[in-house]
């Protein structure tokens, strides 16, 4: 599997990883090797086979529509890197 530097940069942006160029290059080589190994998938006959996303066999797991107490706002904000006492605060959205 061949990955271009652009592929890696695109995926890094999708994943919001601000990788250095050196890191991108190292990852490009590593990911290529891993993807080559993953070709082992092709050895398995999967014609007409369904997809398994979950293994429990459970269906229709749901709860009744009954409100319960929330955290208090102080606890909700307790781990915030930046807060104004009531809200979470983030920097400029548009650059």
């Amino acid at each position: 599997m061949q990955l271009s530097p652009e592929d890696v940069a695109h995926v890094a942006l999708l994943a919001r990883l601000g990788l250095s160029e050196a890191e991108q290059e190292r990852l490009r080589a590593e990911l290529e090797a891993i993807l080559d190994h993953i070709k082992a998938l092709d050895a398995v006959g999967i014609e007409g086979v369904g997809e398994t996303a979950q293994v429990t066999g459970l269906v229709n797991v749901w709860r009744a529509d009954e409100p319960r107490p929330s955290l208090d706002a102080a606890a909700a904000l307790g781990n915030a890197p930046e807060a104004d006492g009531a809200h979470f605060v983030v920097g400029a959205i548009q650059e």
Binding site: E23, A40, V49, E51, T56, N79, I93
Partner: protein, 491 residues
């Protein structure tokens, strides 16, 4: 007996001593803390010490034992450790990652909550590979963990700290989590019992997710009965986890003594393929002969897609992880790298907050789900997952359980496996079990050049008690589980 004398004893022994008045919970805690403080500087198994919490819990346990006596829950007063991927309200929980340093969750994981309710005494959070991604504990942002049998070697991973804490006889019990082998493989490498229940048996509520469809919490212990004690306590339905099985766990310990006479045990040929260390192979073969000697009917079987399981896993797990780790954005909790713009903050927070292996898997998973590649990777992996589950199901129509090696090798030196692929191969024999959601247990089955090897027992879905029963039967006539790591107080 002096406080230190309790180090290395099983939970069942401790529980009996608590009831006979031979020791108190406070005494057991002092013993565990003493051992921890004496060896953990070299071992590195603990990330956080919860001594205040533990002291209160031990005092409460002593009161409860005095009040309830034999009726007190079996784990009441027993010291434990918890892998740092499970939330405990108010206790720093990092998942071994810098990005979560300082995070104190406002709630407690169901599994931990059930232990605390039963009177267990949690003495700390244990080290692990970052977000449970790894097989050596070298991916922790907070340093490696030594193997109690040889501090220069890895304890396995990702639950390396929990395995080492039990292996080093600091605590008789610890919780880990297993996504592709992260309980069984370190148990094997540290010479302890490690049990991954059927997916859905133990609530994931409060378990920091790595790969949601594979993650499962389970115990480390010195013996199968101890592991069963923990499992009985933490297992069972939880309405806060939609994938939690509604079935009751039942009286698992009552099953343990039933032996293996007449049970059909399959030996999957593919689990003995190239890559399996000769020493480990010999240990496992002897173990299988032991089971045959106990009356089990041993039969060779085939799981042809075993090799492809690793590939499917390295699509499915990274894909889920790429999504599960998107929440670490520096907005609501955890570390944020201050930047002039939100976009820069995202990029730098996640670049500096995550370690190399996590970034590798996030990249791999993002790629596998991205437009144009979904069918070639993610969808195909999901189909292979179906095939793997089907192969197990077919084999289980002919045999009751499977026996195989847990890890292809014994513990390797820290720093030896720098290539990601060679590290991924550590879990080749444990991963298929997660893909199919089966229960699996690893029990000590020998020493290879002084390093432990593990026998893995795999059972059909929901047949957790059967897996533990086979392991207990083996344990009953061998003493490998009684061997303790030669980790002295003075190095």
């Amino acid at each position: 007996m002096s406080a230190a004398g309790w180090s290395g004893r099983t939970a069942v022994e401790c529980a009996a001593a608590l009831r006979s008045g031979e020791v108190t919970a406070t005494g057991l805690l002092a013993s565990a803390r003493g051992r921890r403080d004496a060896v953990d500087g070299r071992l590195g198994a603990f990330l956080a010490r919860t001594d205040d919490l533990a002291e209160r819990a031990a005092a409460a346990a002593d009161e409860r034992l005095a009040r309830e006596g034999m009726a007190a829950p079996p784990l009441c007063g027993i010291p434990m450790a918890v892998k740092d991927v499970m939330c405990i309200e108010g206790v720093e929980t990092t998942a071994g990652s810098r990005i979560l340093s300082g995070f104190r969750p406002p709630y407690t994981a169901t599994a931990v909550g059930r232990l605390l309710d039963a009177g267990a005494v949690v003495i700390g959070k244990t080290n692990c590979d970052e977000f449970a991604m790894g097989s050596s504990n070298e991916n922790s942002a907070f340093g490696p963990v030594g193997n109690p049998w040889d501090l220069e070697r890895v304890p396995g991973g990702s639950s390396g700290g929990s395995a080492a804490a039990v292996g080093a006889q600091i605590v008789p019990l610890a919780l880990g989590s297993d996504t592709g082998g992260s309980i069984r493989q370190p148990a094997s490498l540290c010479g302890v019992v490690g049990f991954k229940p059927t997916y859905g048996r133990v609530s994931r509520h409060g378990l920091i997710a790595f790969a949601s469809s594979l993650d499962q919490i389970g115990p480390f212990a010195h013996c199968v009965e101890d592991a069963a004690l923990v499992y009985e306590c933490i297992g069972g339905h939880d309405p806060l986890d939609s994938t939690s099985a509604p079935d009751a766990v039942g009286d698992v310990r009552a099953e343990l003594g039933r032996g293996v006479a007449g049970l059909r045990l399959g030996v999957p040929r593919e689990y003995f393929a190239a890559g399996l260390d000769d020493g480990v192979r010999r240990c496992v073969e002897v173990a299988i002969e032991t089971l045959r000697g106990q009356g089990a009917l041993i039969e060779e079987v085939s799981l042809p897609s075993t090799a492809a399981a690793l590939s499917a896993y390295y699509i499915v797990a990274p894909a889920e992880c790429s999504s599960n780790l998107a929440r670490y954005d520096g907005v609501r909790y955890g570390r944020r790298v201050a930047s002039p713009s939100l976009q820069q903050s995202y990029l730098r927070t996640r670049d500096e907050g995550f370690g190399a292996e996590v970034k590798r898997r996030v990249m791999l998973g993002t790629y596998a789900l991205s437009s144009g590649y979904y069918d070639a990777y993610y969808r195909k992996a999901q189909k292979v997952r179906t095939v793997i589950a089907r192969e197990f199901a077919e084999v289980f129509t002919r045999v009751d359980a499977l026996v195989a090696p847990t890890s292809p090798t014994a513990a390797f030196p820290i720093g030896e496996r720098s290539d990601p692929l060679s590290m991924y191969l550590c879990d080749a024999l444990t991963i298929p079990v997660n893909l199919a959601g089966l229960p699996g247990v690893s029990v000590p089955c020998g020493l290879v050049d002084g390093l432990p090897a593990g026998l893995q027992v795999i059972a059909p879905r929901m047949a957790d008690a059967l897996a533990l029963r086979v392991a207990a039967s083996y344990e009953a006539v061998t003493d490998w589980h009684s061997r303790r790591a030669p980790l002295g107080v003075a190095a």
